[in-house]
């Protein structure tokens, strides 16, 4: 096995998902569209509309990320990917009525299963959930639990409450009970309330790493890792190099404020070591690449980094170029495939080609 891509975006158009909605939700969609303001409207992406220019299929009714054949050609075959984990970001909102949120996320999962997971055996899905309504989210997780092609539960990196809040614990619990990590992906409700709204996509996008620092702090301080002991969290598309500085801060603050946090029995960094993984894209690029290795080691990330391309977004990290040469062979292997194989329980050895071909043909 050579390569597991842990952040790939399949994107449905509204009509594609509408097919999987009941009459009421479909009528809501037709009357009102999506209630959520799109961050791409607030912060237009200053590069190719935010996508790889070659990622738009030449097919009517399709957009970037909606055509499995193009994805197979540009990603799976091009880079000889063993597994690609899909994250469909259409359900990351918190402006929906619960009935709509439930149907909408259900539709995303139906569409994923039908359009993608059956199309190529290398594809794996993440379970989209109505995260602001954890009881509904739990039902959706339970419904997908028997389908091994869904390998994780998907949460947005910004929500109505910090992600360590007790409100969301049932989601982490349900995911953990059925053996799935929780993938937290950049996006969702983006109200930059600490410093106010940035003016530009540049600050907004760099800020994705900053947002995640707060979420990790919330998970630690809220006691999530004590409350759901087996939980595994994958922080996606928020960078990796900042983790060490956050560890130092968390440990220092905990040392000072231990009395406030009786739930926490260990220094925060120990919880991070045990429970948190990070995807690489968009990997930070220090002028001296060896500093990236410092950052990885300072944060104890050798076994926690998962390679990701973020296909088909503009800042796609190429599997052949994104990792600097200074990352040694062993670490490279861990990042490119072994860490993800261990996390998701994929075999470390590549399946027989015949078996793969058989499933693809179906």
């Amino acid at each position: 096995m050579k390569l597991i891509d842990c952040d790939v975006h399949a994107q449905a158009t509204e009509p594609m998902l509408a097919e999987h909605l009941g009459p009421w939700a479909r009528a809501q969609l037709e009357r009102y569209g999506r209630r959520t303001p799109r961050t791409t409207d607030w912060y237009p992406r200053a590069r190719n509309g935010g996508m790889r220019v070659d990622a738009w299929p030449d097919k009517p009714g399709h957009i970037w990320g909606s055509d499995p054949e193009l994805l197979r050609e540009q990603l799976l075959d091009e880079y000889d990917v063993d597994y690609a984990i899909l994250e469909v970001l259409s359900g990351q909102d918190c402006y929906d009525h619960p009935d709509f949120a439930r149907e909408w996320n259900h539709a995303i999962n139906e569409w994923q299963a039908e359009t993608w997971l059956g199309f190529d055996s290398r594809l794996r899905g993440t379970i989209a959930v109505a995260h602001e309504y954890p009881d509904l989210a739990v039902k959706e997780i339970e419904e997908r639990a028997d389908d091994p092609r869904f390998v994780a539960v998907l949460l947005p990196a910004s929500a109505a409450e910090p992600l360590g809040a007790p409100k969301y614990w049932p989601i982490y619990r349900a995911a953990t009970e059925c053996g799935r990590p929780v993938v937290v992906h950049t996006g969702g409700y983006v109200d930059h309330r600490g410093a106010g709204y940035p003016s530009f996509y540049l600050d907004y996008h760099v800020g994705n790493g900053i947002v995640t620092q707060g979420q990790l702090t919330s998970m630690v301080a809220g006691g999530l890792f004590e409350e759901v002991p087996g939980v595994r969290v994958v922080l996606t598309e928020s960078g990796v190099a900042w983790v060490a500085a956050l560890r130092w801060s968390l440990d220092a603050a905990w040392e000072l404020m231990r009395a406030d946090h009786p739930r926490l029995t260990r220094p925060p960094s120990h919880y991070l070591d045990e429970h948190v993984w990070f995807t690489t894209q968009p990997i930070e690029e220090p002028e001296d690449p060896s500093h990236l290795v410092y950052a990885i080691d300072q944060a104890h990330l050798r076994d926690k980094l998962l390679f990701a391309t973020d296909y088909p977004h503009w800042d796609f990290d190429s599997p052949t170029q994104a990792l600097p040469r200074v990352i040694d062979k062993e670490l490279r292997r861990k990042i490119l495939c072994e860490n993800a194989a261990d996390l998701y329980g994929f075999p470390r050895e590549r399946p027989e080609p015949a078996a793969t071909a058989g499933v693809q043909a179906s």
Partner: protein, 363 residues
């Protein structure tokens, strides 16, 4: 180092003073505001969300034992509790009382003005070593500009004090007139931890613990740093510098790696940003050393220094009377005598244009 851990003779870039109550400010307020304060029973909460009386951060154990858990409100208290012990070369006084959450912009402006008059009369007039941050209304840039014009010519004020938490990032064009007024008077800008209580401080809703609030100052400072660069503030005000105060610094190198990378991708959006973001940051920002939140090992600290490109952006702060439970001392111990003198004195002296600093000799 002094018995209480102060770096003797240093330029201390962040120590705190505060009026004990609004009664201290009444001489500097109009009849209207005196009546307002009295009739509405407005209390000076001492930035209660930031430094609750019992919180470990609010005061060191030694200070607490002596009943010194709040910042000094008189020069005599400042001398007894800090100056006599720390023997600083220079000190920058930060009074955060204007960070309180007044939504009334007129009141906010009046309080900022009163704080500046109070700081000037109570402290600056008494001791040549003292400098102060200039308080401004954090809710109205117009009023902030007017206050800078009113008192900014007093050489005792060296920087405009802004809470790191804001409704709009500080680099935003709405604030540029304020920066212009500051630069006309050779003032710099300081962003200090906290402010804007009661609003959610994360992009993902309300926090529920002090620990989260305390640590949030660091990511918020990062967001502010992005704003200053991406809005082109330093192209417009080439001599403006920003002091990031009480927000940590160990996060800086990795933020800049990402910032530079993203800028290379989307520079078209911000054509006025002409150099690498890290170059602007290196030229224009300094960061205080408390809290330090350092790597636990010597090797990690050496690597951090290497990633920072040396300690040229760091300036010493005791943050008296606050307690962050850690200290920058282990990092200072790994510096050459010259670098150490830079952090303890020379970098800050250059930032503030202090000339009469006593020569610092490494112990």
């Amino acid at each position: 180092m002094s018995a209480l851990g102060y770096q003797l003779g240093a330029v201390d870039c962040d120590i705190h003073v505060a009026p004990a109550a609004y009664s201290d400010l009444l001489p500097y307020l109009s009849d209207y505001w005196r009546q307002y304060i009295s009739e509405a029973a407005v209390r000076l909460t001492g930035v209660g969300h930031a430094y609750p009386p019992g919180a470990p951060v609010t005061a060191t154990a030694q200070a607490r034992e002596r009943g010194w858990a709040t910042p000094p409100s008189t020069y005599e208290q400042l001398a007894e509790r800090y100056l006599d012990e720390a023997q600083p070369g220079h000190v920058v006084l930060n009074c955060l009382a204007g960070f309180d959450t007044h939504r009334n912009p007129y009141f906010s402006a009046a309080v900022a003005g009163a704080l500046n008059d109070w700081v000037r009369e109570t402290f600056l007039r008494r001791d040549d070593r003292l400098r102060a941050s200039l308080s401004v209304s954090p809710v109205s840039p117009d009023d902030a500009t007017a206050e800078i014009e009113r008192v900014g010519d007093d050489p005792g004020f060296v920087q405009v004090l802004l809470p790191v938490r804001s409704d709009l990032p500080w680099g935003h064009k709405n604030n540029h007139a304020m920066f212009a007024a500051a630069r006309e008077r050779s003032l710099q800008v300081a962003l200090h931890a906290w402010g804007r209580a009661g609003r959610s401080l994360t992009p993902s809703g309300f926090t529920t613990t002090y620990l989260e609030d305390y640590l949030a100052n660091q990511p918020i400072a990062q967001a502010q740093m992005l704003s200053f660069v991406s809005e082109g503030v330093f192209e417009r005000f080439p001599d403006l510098r920003v002091m990031v105060t009480e927000c940590g610094f160990a996060w800086l190198p990795t933020l800049l790696w990402r910032f530079d990378k993203d800028w290379k991708g989307v520079w078209r959006e911000v054509p006025w940003v002409k150099d690498l973001p890290s170059e602007y940051v290196g030229r224009h920002f300094c960061l205080t050393t408390a809290p330090a939140h350092l790597p636990p090992e010597d090797t990690g600290r050496a690597q951090l220094l290497e990633m920072l490109g040396g300690p040229a952006m760091l300036v010493y702060a005791s943050d008296f009377p606050h307690d962050h439970g850690d200290s920058v001392a282990p990092l200072l111990d790994q510096l050459s005598a010259e670098d150490r003198a830079g952090v303890l004195q020379n970098t800050a002296a250059a930032f503030y244009g202090l000339d009469a600093v006593r020569t610092y000799t490494s112990p």
